[in-house]
Structures are given as C-alpha cells and as structure tokens.
C-alpha cells in the first residue's frame, strides 16, 4: 500500500501458473509484453498512465486471464 503510494502508477503482473504463452498480449500491447524466440514472456512491471489502457486491453484479451493490472487511472 505504502509502496504503491510512493511509487504510484499502474502495475502489471502475469500469473505464471496460468499463462500459456499465447502472445495475445503482445498483439494488444507491443512494448509492454514480448514473447521471446525462446518462448518466454517478458513484460514491463510498471507502466505509464498512458499505457495503462493498452495493458487493460491485453488483460481483457488474455486467453488464460493471467494478466493482472493494478492502479488503472479511473
């Protein structure tokens, strides 16, 4: 809570147990998510307010509902 207050801004996380590396998130939000050649998913943990909308789009579209976005500006 305090951390969130101090650092602020929307945060992204992906539940590894759920994610099956479909890469849908990369299509929705390139630059925030990237499916590597090795099949691993890399993503930004902290995103700007402007990118929060694209992060939410990725979360809505994720086939496994594995993406959690916190602190989307209302």
């Amino acid at each position: 809570m305090t951390l969130h207050r101090i650092r602020g801004g929307p945060r992204l996380s992906v539940d590894n147990d759920r994610c099956e590396r479909f890469g849908t998130c990369e299509w929705e939000a390139p630059g925030l998510f990237e499916l590597g050649r090795d099949g691993r998913l890399r993503y930004r943990r902290r995103v700007s307010d402007e990118d929060a909308e694209r992060a939410a789009a990725a979360a809505r579209c994720c086939p496994m509902q594995a993406i959690v976005v916190r602190g989307v500006p209302g």
């Binding site: 099956e20 849908t24 299509w27 499916l35 099949g39 579209c61 989307v72």
Partner: protein
C-alpha cells in the same frame, strides 16, 4: 424521461460486461442494468471445457474483472422474456417491464441438442455454463466408465483432452472424416495424431444409431456398428443463437440478430448487438453478414457496440475486426486468425502454420503451437486485409441534451 437515461444490457456474459465497461469509460453516467439468466457474474466461459471440467479451477477463480467502476444494477438469475422495440421495453418474468433508452443484446448462443438423444437423462450433458461443467463432473464421479463426447469441433476435442488429463477414458464420436476437419487436412491430421498419442478413442465418419440406457451406463450403437459404453455423454455438436426471447420484437432474426456493419440491429435506432449472437457484415472481408463465436470477438464487439450506441446510428463506425481465436488441446496451443471458414483452399505458410485462401487471397491462418509465428501472420493478414477507412474516434457521452442514439426522438 424523468428518471434519467437508462441503458439495458441483455445477457451478462463477456460481451455484455465489456459493453458495460466501455459505456462507463466513455462517460455514460445514466443507469446501467445488466440482465443475465445465469446465477453468477460474467466469467471465463472457455474454461468450462478446460479448467472447470478438470477441476483445476473453481468458477469463482474465473470471474471476469472490470477495469472501471461499473456502478450497474445486476439482475442475475433473471431471463429477459420478450422485447418490444416500439415501446422500448424489455419484459422480465412476473410481468415486470424495463424501459430503456438504449439496449445492448448480448445473449450468446445455446448448445444444440441431438435429436433422438435422451435429453432429460442427467448423464447426457452439454457444455456452456459453469453449472454444466459441475453436472458433468458429478456424472463422472458416479461411475468409472469411459466418457463419450459427440462432436469433433473445438469443444469436443477440448473435452476429450480434459478427460485424458484427468486419467479418464474417453471416446470422441464425430461424423466428419477427422476432428477439426474444417481447419483443413493438415490441422486435422495433427489433432488426430495428438488424440492417438494421448490414447483418446476416436470414432469418426460415424453417428449414433441408437441409445441403450441402463441404470449404470449408456451403450451407444454407432452407424459403423461399433458399440461404445459410457458413464456420461457430452453433446458438443454446435450451438444456436439465443434469440427465442426476441421473436416478434421487430428485429430481424436469421441465424442470430441481423445487424448493420456498425452492430446496430437492423430495424431499430437504439439497439446494438454484440458477441456470439450478432450477425453482421465485417467490411474487412465483404458485405456478407456472419456470426463469429469466439471470445476475443465478444470482447471487441462488446466495446464497439457500446461506442456506437453512444455515438448514435448516424455517427456509428463499422466494426471491422481481424478475428482471432485460440484453443488448448493437451499441451498444444491452437490459434486462428481471419475467417478460415471462407476458404476454398489451404496452403502451408510456414512450419505448423496453415493459410486459408479464397480467390487467390489469404483470408485466414491457423497455427499449430506456433504463437510467435502467429504474431507475424496476424500482422501480415492485418496488412493484406486492411480495415476500410473509418470515421472519427468514439464520442464521449455528452449528457442527455445531446442524446445521440440513447434517448427517444426529441
């Protein structure tokens, strides 16, 4: 309209939820009512044939989140029984009437029943809802005999895979030559091999001749003279649009609700349609109206329908997505983009990627466990099948004075 503006959303699935969310994002501050006949809030339906069948997740784990405050009135466990577009009223059980200034129809589809099947036997099930998944699990728990699934499409294949994952014997019965045959011979051959590797039984090119039900089990006598014994039978033979409640409403019902390219229902000024039930022409491909029964389409059409409802019929923009879908079978990720069903022919685009061709033009692609390549082909299809130029960005809700579509004529 003294109570302010009201938008009613009929059908509380993913399309309905995403429409509600988009309405609030765009600043609609009137009353929002969601009517859903299931007892729970919108959840991740694709898990019904996967995690909810295997027990890897519970329905509560699959509840969908909203990224905006919805401030909606939820009428769950409530069926919309009739629509009157001239009075702008949705009828609910018990004679209740709900007026609207704008309506989103998002009632989805219902599974088809197989003529001749003992449909009232609790061991014969369909798969659409969390309750369906729970009922199949109960039937499985009551006997250790094999499960049978009728239908070789995505849901049939997913169910068979889930059974094997649970260590249950399963036979898939289908009338096509191979499971997923509509995805072309390459995918069909791969999925056939995959089922074999996992020791799921396949009875293809056949159908049920008759059902022999006893207290403990079912015997299914197939047209190829095979006899399969089952503890429970799942029917996965496709679905039909949930439009019963719309008969006599003034909307055009023809394999779903017929829509304009903008998702406005034909014949109404204040009704938009989203998700599996919408049949609209996607101008990216041609002007033939079609339905698309996939999750991402429900998400995107829900949002587009909301934008257009607020913009008004005159300002609405055509909904021209590049359809994308996925499925997981065993450890394999299957993905499609575009409209493979339009194709006359298939080609091999890359290792594990099949292309679908109509009149020499690529109209779709299907990937067999190739997510990275599919990102490339999604971009490629997007470039080759560009969406027609559209009009300005979605309008924000500007309050009752402006009242584009939402609201009766001044």
């Amino acid at each position: 309209m003294s109570d302010g503006d009201r938008i009613v959303i009929a059908g509380a699935g993913v399309a309905g939820l995403r429409a509600a969310e988009r309405l609030r994002e765009l600043g609609f501050d009137g009353e929002l009512v969601l009517i859903g006949d299931e007892p729970r809030r919108p959840y991740h339906r694709p898990s019904v044939s996967k995690q909810l069948i295997t027990g890897a997740a519970r329905p509560v784990d699959m509840t969908l989140k909203s990224y905006t405050e919805l401030d909606a009135r939820w009428r769950l466990g409530t069926r919309a029984t009739h629509l009157d577009t001239t009075q702008h009223v949705v009828h609910l059980p018990g004679g209740e009437e709900l007026w609207y200034d704008g309506l989103v129809v998002a009632t989805g589809v219902v599974p088809r029943h197989l003529p001749g099947s003992p449909r009232h036997d609790p061991r014969v099930r369909v798969l659409r809802t969390a309750e369906d998944a729970a009922a199949v699990r109960r039937a499985l728990a009551a006997s250790n005999k094999a499960a049978v699934v009728i239908g070789g499409g995505l849901i049939g294949c997913e169910f068979a895979a889930s059974m094997r994952q649970m260590g249950r014997d399963v036979t898939l019965v289908g009338h096509a030559r191979a499971p997923l045959y509509r995805f072309g011979p390459r995918i069909a051959a791969s999925v056939t091999e995959l089922h074999r590797q996992h020791r799921a039984g396949l009875a293809m090119n056949t159908a049920v001749r008759h059902w022999i039900s006893t207290k403990e089990t079912f015997g299914l006598h197939l047209t190829n003279n095979q006899l399969v014994v089952a503890s429970c039978v799942v029917l996965a033979i496709g679905s039909v649009p949930a439009v019963d409640w719309l008969r006599g409403s003034g909307l055009t019902l023809d394999d779903g609700v017929l829509c304009e390219p903008t998702l406005f229902a034909t014949g109404a000024e204040d009704v938009v349609v989203a998700g599996d039930v919408a049949r609209w022409p996607n101008l990216r491909f041609d002007d033939e109206p079609r339905r698309v029964e996939h999750w991402l389409n429900a998400v995107e059409s829900g949002r587009a329908a909301a934008e257009n409802l607020l913009a008004g019929r005159g300002q609405a923009r055509p909904f021209t997505p590049l359809p994308r879908a996925w499925s997981s079978l065993y450890e394999v990720r299957l993905q499609t983009i575009g409209l493979p069903a339009l194709a006359e022919d298939t080609v091999r685009l890359a290792d594990g990627v099949t292309g679908f061709v109509r009149a020499g033009e690529l109209v779709g692609a299907c990937g067999w466990d190739r997510p990275k390549a599919m990102l490339y082909w999604t971009a490629e299809l997007d470039r080759r099948l560009p969406a027609p130029a559209t009009t300005p960005a979605p309008a924000r809700w500007s309050g009752p004075e402006a009242r584009p579509a939402v609201g009766t004529a001044p």
